[in-house]
């Protein structure tokens, strides 16, 4: 019995080590509509460490400019603002999603093709890089 417990403990500890620092889940770039000059990248990020991190910058080769933004609904009014960073709290999930934090893409260098994968690097405050492979999608989030 003890042996089995030990075996499972070993297994789980092994899993902890094999986990990546920040897990990247379901990254999507929205294909912009005609005449829309901006678009956004959404992703869920799971911080598996005991350290708080901040995304301080985004880069990539598909857009000319990347900015970190947030959206806020206040008194029935929608407000969008650039932010200096997006916090990734330790052992927590942070969603970059419609109606909240997102990476804004300006000056797209080429039209995005549906289901094509585009690389976007998120730079953290400790200079480490989360490499995101975002899939271009036409779909629009229906509810925020």
């Amino acid at each position: 019995m003890k042996l089995i417990v030990l075996f499972f403990m070993l297994l789980t500890s092994f899993q902890v080590f094999s986990e990546s620092k920040i897990e990247v889940i379901n990254p999507i770039i929205r294909i912009p509509l005609p005449e829309m000059t901006v678009t956004a990248m959404f992703v869920t990020l799971k911080n598996n460490t005991d350290t708080d991190f901040k995304i301080v910058k985004a880069t990539g080769d598909v857009a000319g400019v990347y900015e970190l933004h947030t959206m806020e609904m206040k008194g029935g009014k929608m407000k969008m603002r650039p932010v200096d960073y997006i916090e990734l709290k330790k052992r927590a999930i942070t969603e970059l999603k419609s109606g909240g934090f997102h990476v804004m893409l300006f000056n797209l260098k080429k039209p995005l093709l549906e289901n094509e994968v585009y690389n976007i690097d998120l730079i953290l405050n400790d200079k480490s890089v989360i490499s995101v492979k975002a899939v271009a999608k036409k779909i629009m989030p229906m509810h925020m």
Binding site: L33, M36, M78
Partner: protein, 200 residues
């Protein structure tokens, strides 16, 4: 002594004049506000100049206000409303006009607005109006917006109300469809008004 007295008189006279000016100005403003009729406001549409008076007859009017660099609320609302329109019976759809009012005429021409809305539903009519008329037009429907400079490639953004204003065929403001309401709730409201006004 006389000099001091006359100086005082001049000062009070000036004060009275300034006050009169202020009153006259605010009176004029209130008259203008009372006179402003959003239904006769000239709107630039893809088909040329129109007014709400031209558009409302025998229809439920929906007004939504937004801009083309709007990253989220506008495309979300327009795509949701398009999907609702697709689900409505043709005789119901026939009684609806949906107008997308541009809040950023400096950047969004009617041509660009038309290309943008063509991506959604043919029922969605884009209109623009000049910057000076935009204030009275929006506030006539209880919609607020403000141009906010940003430290961003965008230069500025437009904070704006996200509700859809519903007007009856007799020009009454019926309702606001809230952004947060579900698709089903919005459909319920629309069906309810179609029933009241058109027995559909």
């Amino acid at each position: 002594m006389n000099k001091i007295l006359s100086k005082g008189v001049v000062k009070s006279l000036l004060a009275v004049l300034v006050l009169m000016g202020v009153f006259y100005y605010s009176y004029q403003q209130s008259v203008q506000k009372k006179r402003y009729n959003p239904f006769t406001q000239e709107l630039i549409s893809p088909a040329g100049i129109v007014t709400l008076d031209d558009l409302h007859k025998d229809k439920l009017i929906f007004l939504y206000f937004g801009f083309l660099s709007c990253p989220d609320a506008c495309p979300t609302t327009l795509s949701e409303i398009s999907s609702i329109f697709k689900s409505l019976a043709p005789q119901k759809l026939e009684k609806i006009r949906f107008i997308f009012v541009g809040l950023d005429p400096e950047r969004d021409s009617i041509d660009r607005m038309t290309k943008y809305t063509s991506h959604f539903h043919e029922k969605i009519i884009p209109v623009t109006l000049d910057l000076n008329s935009l204030g009275p037009f929006t506030s006539a429907f209880g919609i607020t917006y403000s141009k906010v400079p940003l430290k961003s490639t965008m230069g500025y953004t437009i904070d704006h109300s996200t509700q859809i204003v519903v007007l009856s065929p007799d020009k009454k403001k019926l309702h606001l469809l809230e952004h947060e309401e579900t698709r089903a709730q919005k459909i319920d409201h629309i069906n309810n008004y179609l029933k009241i006004y058109f027995q559909l």
